[in-house]
């Protein structure tokens, strides 16, 4: 459903993403891994429209979305989470999610000022959606809680919920289990499986190898911006180029 062709991003003389070609299947869990600085987040930024590709195309359900504005890409059905999601610390969890569905509603300034039925319908739709996604990520019980009082793992779930509120066909998760302890990671893995079951394609960046190897259907390995391997976990595990890249990176850091 997402086909990427010769995707390249250069900053000045630096090539952050180098001629990457790959594709993500509908209903699969796709992972992108690679040593630090391999260009994973840049790759996400390109797909989500936060950065404009230097070259290449990104086909989403057949249409080239490369270079489109991030908000247009979100409306097309690609949602993303960030490594750290900024939220309104002092308002409730549920309140934070209401904005997530706005893109699927239409109400203008006059509707807001005059409180027209159209705006009321839009509000109601957003609230219903917020409650629905909160339930989906298993946080209905803390809908009233202030964001400031939530745990790291709960924040991750809230970030998922916010992305889901946009009714995406595919979600890009940037380190969904970053900063979360192993026990909680299992819960997040279950949640990711649940998304796939609900016909949402998942694409994620993660450093936790055990987690990746257990949940990903397919793994793309980037190193210095270029794709060095692409395949199911058991293939990737034994790929000499991948081992080389990771060992090389460790040697370099040591």
């Amino acid at each position: 459903m997402l086909e990427i062709n010769g995707l390249t991003k250069q900053y000045g003389g630096l090539t952050a993403v180098d001629n990457v070609t790959t594709s993500f299947e509908r209903g699969a869990i796709n992972a992108i891994i690679g040593p630090n600085g391999a260009g994973k987040t840049t790759f996400f930024n390109l797909v989500a429209g936060a950065a404009r590709p230097t070259a290449g195309e990104i086909r989403f359900e057949g249409n080239d979305i490369a270079g489109m504005a991030p908000d247009a890409i979100a409306r097309a059905g690609i949602a993303r989470t960030f490594q750290t999601t900024m939220l309104f610390e002092e308002s409730s969890v549920l309140d934070n999610l209401i904005i997530g569905h706005r893109l699927r509603t239409g109400s203008r300034l006059w509707d807001v000022l005059l409180h027209t039925p159209r705006h009321r319908r839009a509000e109601a739709a957003c609230r219903d959606k917020a409650a629905e996604v909160l339930d989906f990520v298993g946080l209905s019980a803390i809908g009233d809680r202030m964001i400031a009082d939530t745990s790291q793992e709960e924040r991750k779930r809230i970030a998922f919920a916010l992305a889901l509120a946009t009714e995406p066909k595919i979600v890009l998760l940037d380190e969904p289990a970053g900063g979360v302890n192993p026990g909680e990671t299992d819960g997040l893995v279950a949640l990711i499986h649940k998304m796939v079951k609900h016909d949402i394609t998942v694409c994620l960046i993660e450093h936790k190898m055990d987690m990746i190897m257990s949940i990903a259907d397919r793994i793309v390995v980037l190193d210095h911006g270029a794709k060095i391997a692409d395949g199911p976990p058991n293939e990737i595990r034994n790929d000499p180029a991948v081992i080389e890249a990771y060992l090389g990176a460790e040697h370099a850091e040591a």
Partner: protein, 362 residues
Amino acid sequence: MTRVLNAFNHPATLLVLLGLAIGFPFVAGNEYQVYVMALAFVWAIAVYGLNIITGYCGQLNLAHGGFFAIGAYAVAILTADHGWNFWAAFAMAGVFGALFGLIVGAVSLRLKEHYFAIFTLCVGFIIYMLLDKWEALTHGPLGIISIAPPDGFGVVDFTQTRPFYYLVLGCLCAAVFFTRRLSNSLLGRTFRAIRISDDLAQSLGINLMRNKILAFVISTVYAALAGGLYSGVVRFIGPDIGNFMHTFDMIAYLLVGGIGTLMGPVIGTLIITWLTQAVQSLEEYRMIVFGPLLVVLVIFFPKGIAGSFQAWRARRNATARVSNETGRTPPSQADTSETAQPSATTSASAPTGHGTRGHSNA
């Protein structure tokens, strides 16, 4: 629960405040105090505008005083030089505010943070320079006298202080009312999402430029209409009205009252206006107090009065809630689904809690 922590925005509180404002001329010692109050209301309306672009949307607009001046000069020039009726000129002030806001916003809002602040500072200065130098239009440093007052209706004569006071109060109420609608709405949430993070907002499908420009134009219309009223009450203006000191005054009002809150603008404006009045000698050197006050506020009390109050209530409620939750473990499913689906009765007050925080430290 949200109802409690929104004491400042609750309709009952607002009605009490309105009652106090209506009664003020009857308890005021003299006409001068009523006049001062009316002027404070005029500034408060402009501060509501600043609150929308800076408080809700997070863009520090340093040309706000310039848009106030554009409104003031629109009324002054149209009534004094072209013989327009005040109300027609007042409406045109709003149109000019929107028009210039659209033009300036379309260029400046493509710039991020510092660039935007510096750019708008320069825009404010250009407006001031034009008012001062473009003598054919603005009469230059001489300023404009004989500005027409608002035309009265029947026995109501707006050249007198009290009727004008009520006129301004009515406008202020309208400003608060529209701000409240906006703040509670999806549009208000959109603005606040932009304040938190451009990237987050865009990832949620929010068109940054369109929404930022909308917030900016709403704010400049507020400023220009307030400027128009100012001309109507003071009836003499000079280029000094475009001096950026006025922008800084408004920032001080907003910070003291509580940036990003519903009642902050009026609270801050009234408090500082009356403090300044109380120490007459302060007028000229008020910045000796305001300057350090701004610094101390942003370091120690960035939420201002209304914001700190709400944060305190929110925290108290949250603690109460947590102890409730631990009291009955586990939380029943029925209970949560009830809170998740807001009924029609709570929807009026529920979202305000979200909208009226000061800047969080996120």
